[in-house]
């Protein structure tokens, strides 16, 4: 093991502690920086909300920092901002995410505020109303954002209304308007608690100090009402191509969002699918799609693919922004590349390139506190084991061309993708596809 390999986060240098209340703390000392970072998650995402209250979990996460039993809005934020600290909460599909950073000397006030906001929020009515107004403004603005609209249309077509992934975490104008202060309090009481919480602390900090601070601030937190962890169902792939066209007035460019059901992070073929995705739309200048759509045909500034890979069947997405006249040509080119990926094994050189890419970029990913925190959080959250990064290189180089082909075939089928386009009024040639299913 080289000196560097020994220094990457692993079971030997990450200190993992399970608290009685279910909280799992992971601490990694990084003396190369002056700051400290905290990253946490709690099982309180949008998967726990009803469709008619879509956006509730996200509003709860935003409202946690608007007032507590101990301090009001101004007092909370003055305490953070006076020390140059950042603390934010965000609602994701499965989890409520917490992110904070401060100069190393200020870890205590950062943890104290985080603990207070999670444990004793009061959801003051005036701030709930203010947040509602801000969210509605954001939703109205986004309704004219072609990228947002294409992505939303793709998601809604890929997942049925009975599935939590059908809904955006920010909700809709109707559902946000309907959320009450009581909804926020009830959701908090039922879902925000220490059981299953993961807290990662990385930075210029002594492990014993961090452990003591967490014990003092979050060690006694209990929530007996906290609900069981929910899972997202896995679905069958669409049985046909589905086209969605969204007219957004006043635009000059179309955004294309094409999706298929991708693997969960813990799926055995996840890494092989990641390599397949990289070949398709990531490696070099946005992979094969970027080479074809941007470099060779000059159709788009951006055209790439992305693999989600979370707790459930996140989408495998291809995105592109093109002139309305070039939409069909771009879609055809992308589908041709998807067809190629699922019908022929990647070349030896492609596999070697991508194996080198995935393993070689690890040092860059681990350069910052945020990068280290994110990796440690993922290892814990997806049960990858704390030696995952140390073993990562071997895992990547064990992947074969057949593994990549099998993963691509498992998740992608160019004849069964959802294709959403948002942009200016389509002309007659593209209007034929509006809101239709094609075999």
């Amino acid at each position: 093991m080289s000196a560097y390999t020994a220094s990457i986060p692993n079971a030997g240098n990450i200190n993992r502690v399970e608290f009685d209340n279910g909280l799992v703390l992971l601490v990694y000392e990084n003396r190369a920086v002056e700051s400290v970072n905290i990253t946490a998650s709690i099982h309180a995402g949008s998967i726990y909300e009803r469709p008619e209250r879509s956006g509730l979990a996200s509003l709860v996460s935003s409202a946690l920092l608007t007032g507590t039993q101990q301090r009001n809005f101004d007092e909370i934020h003055a305490s953070l901002e006076s020390i140059g600290a950042e603390l934010s909460m965000r609602g994701h599909i499965h989890k409520l995410g917490l992110f904070g950073k401060a100069l190393a000397e200020d870890l205590r006030p950062l943890l104290e505020t985080a603990s207070e906001a999670l444990s004793y929020p009061t959801f003051p009515a005036e701030h709930v109303e203010r947040l509602r107004g801000e969210r509605l403004t954001w939703l109205q603005y986004s309704s004219f954002d072609t990228r947002y609209r294409a992505s939303k249309a793709m998601r809604q077509a890929l997942y049925p209304a009975s599935h939590p992934y059908h809904y955006g975490t920010y909700g809709d104008e109707e559902t946000i308007a309907a959320v009450s202060q009581a909804d926020l309090s009830t959701f908090h009481a039922n879902h925000v608690g220490p059981d299953g919480m993961i807290l990662v602390i990385v930075g210029h900090v002594d492990t014993e100090d961090a452990l003591r601070l967490v014990r003092e601030t979050l060690g006694d937190w209990r929530n007996p009402e906290q609900a069981e962890v929910a899972r997202a169902d896995f679905l069958d792939a669409p049985g046909a191509t589905e086209r969605q066209t969204v007219f957004v007035p006043g635009k000059t460019q179309c955004d294309i969002s094409m999706g298929a059901l991708g693997p969960a992070r813990a799926a055995p073929d996840y890494l092989a699918a990641q390599i397949a995705n990289s070949v398709l739309g990531e490696f070099g200048m946005m992979g094969r799609i970027g080479k074809s759509v941007r470099e060779e045909q000059g159709l788009a500034y951006y055209a790439y693919s992305h693999l989600g890979g979370g707790h459930g069947p996140d989408p495998w997405i291809v995105s592109a922004g093109v002139n309305p006249d070039n939409v069909e040509q771009a879609i055809d080119s992308i589908l041709w590349e998807v067809e190629r990926l699922v019908s022929e094994a990647v070349a030896d050189e492609d596999l070697a390139d991508n194996q080198s890419y995935f393993t070689g970029r690890l040092p860059l990913r681990l350069e910052s506190n945020e990068g280290i925190s994110s990796q440690i959080h993922a290892m814990e959250s997806y049960n990858l084991g704390l030696n995952y990064l140390a073993e990562y290189k071997d895992m990547i180089f064990r992947i074969s061309k057949d593994d990549v082909l099998n993963a691509a075939q498992h998740y992608l089928d160019p004849k069964n993708m959802v294709i959403a386009v948002a942009g200016p009024q389509p002309d007659a040639s593209t209007a034929r596809n509006t809101q239709t299913r094609e075999k």
Binding site: A32, S88, S143, P249, K251, E295, G298, G360, R361
Partner: protein, 423 residues
């Protein structure tokens, strides 16, 4: 802080080195002192387009080769064009940095600008512009800058005007490249895990033989003084209104710039926590439910530019309401100054923000390269000291001298009925 060393090669290339051994990584930057500021009418967007063409390869490093080699090495590379400069960078594991250094040396002098590639890239760049046009605030920014700068090159967007993007030729681009891409108009910066003496020797070997030419005379037209407030109105389909107010401020090397930076922290909170809720403007506009958000921008520039505050209005609130509150807040600051608490907060936030923004070798290298192109070499090392020396009186002084109606440019983005667009 590790020492920064500076060197100048015989051909005029400035070299800045900083050893950082916390991770086995090196960030390598080449910055050219040319940007959209130096573009005449008819050639707007040319600096940015040239930046794109630099990725189309040289004979030694054909297009796509470096994409592959850098990704294979687990690195990252990119480039960006600003008003004042164009930057190229690669961050790689330390033992793989040589290829990036060699490639940047090669494309400083030997980029091909193949005519077919130029045409293919024309549509890519127009697509990039059209993507920006899909954002209503892009139209507002373009109009506000156009109103603020009648003569100076800051008047057009970095992406350029579409009419120029359609008209420029391969030879225009190549000529721009040949004139501006030379050692005397460039800076090379390395930050990371290396030995400075060895690194300098390597740089001399790779860059020392590049043809020496005098730094080009840059196209710059000074903006005449503004003779009164200017206003623009932009109407786009949508539901959200925006209000922007700009005031003229001096260049980054001017002693007042850092005072204005502290003033901005007090007003908008930028430079501190990402969403600074105790700032005066957040309290006056967002907490009172006039705005859904407020932000400000003060960027270091070579020539005098703008301090801009932009407000996202909530439904059924008007730009006039936002303006009244904003002007009241400016007047309050001018008349009553700032508190010791606000000054102390600004200093602590600056210290924290500086620490966060310099934790990666890539960010440190950018700071150093930017310092050079702004003609303020101690910008990076002396930044915190300068900021800490700003007093409460300094802040009031710059507020009174710069936040004045005569140097004001106001822009309003008024949403129009989307249904009318369907007809």
């Amino acid at each position: 802080m590790t020492t920064v060393t500076r060197h100048t090669l015989p051909n005029g290339l400035t070299v800045i080195l900083k050893e950082v051994h916390s991770a086995p990584i090196i960030s390598w930057w080449i910055g050219y002192k040319v940007g959209s500021r130096n573009e005449p009418t008819g050639k707007t967007g040319i600096s940015h387009w040239v930046e794109h063409m630099m990725f189309k390869g040289t004979e030694r490093f054909p297009a796509g080769l470096l994409d592959r080699e850098i990704d294979r090495a687990g690195g990252t590379w990119n480039a960006f064009t600003f008003m004042d400069y164009t930057m190229y960078f690669e961050t790689l594991p330390a033992d793989k940095i040589d290829i990036a250094m060699a490639a940047e040396a090669d494309r400083m002098a030997n980029a091909i600008f193949d005519p077919e590639e130029t045409e293919s890239e024309r549509t890519v760049i127009i697509s990039e512009r059209q993507g920006l046009e899909n954002q209503p605030t892009f139209w507002l920014q373009e109009e506000v800058r156009g109103a603020a700068f009648r003569v100076h090159g800051y008047h057009h967007e970095i992406i350029g005007d579409e009419t120029d993007l359609r008209a420029m030729t391969r030879d225009d681009l190549y000529d721009h490249y040949r004139r501006h891409y030379c050692p005397a108009n460039a800076v090379a910066v390395a930050v990371g895990a290396f030995d400075s003496a060895e690194m300098l020797s390597k740089i001399e070997g790779l860059y020392g033989s590049i043809e020496s030419r005098e730094a080009p005379a840059l196209f710059v037209r000074a903006e005449p003084s503004q003779q009164g407030e200017r206003r623009v109105l932009v109407e786009r389909p949508g539901k959200t209104a925006f209000y922007e107010i700009c005031h003229r401020i001096p260049d980054a090397a001017h002693e007042d710039w850092v005072k204005l930076k502290v003033l901005d922290n007090v007003l908008s909170g930028s430079g501190g926590a990402s969403d600074n809720k105790t700032s005066r403007l957040y309290q006056a506009l967002v907490k009172t439910e006039i705005a859904a958000g407020v932000g400000a921008m003060i960027v270091p520039t070579i020539d005098p530019y703008l301090y801009s505050i932009i407000v996202t209005l909530r439904d059924e609130r008007s730009p006039a309401e936002a303006e009244e509150v904003l002007l009241d807040e400016i007047a309050r600051l001018q008349e009553h100054g700032i508190s010791g608490e606000e000054l102390s907060k600004a200093r602590k936030q600056a210290k924290a923000a500086f620490a966060y923004s310099t934790e990666s070798v890539t960010e440190q290298a950018y700071w150093l390269a930017q310092s050079f192109v702004l003609d303020k070499e101690d910008w990076f090392e002396g930044y915190l000291d300068r900021l800490t020396r700003v007093s409460a009186d300094d802040v009031v002084d710059v507020a009174n001298r710069y936040l004045v109606p005569k140097g004001r440019v106001v822009g309003i983005l008024q949403p129009t009925d989307p249904e009318a667009e369907r007809e």
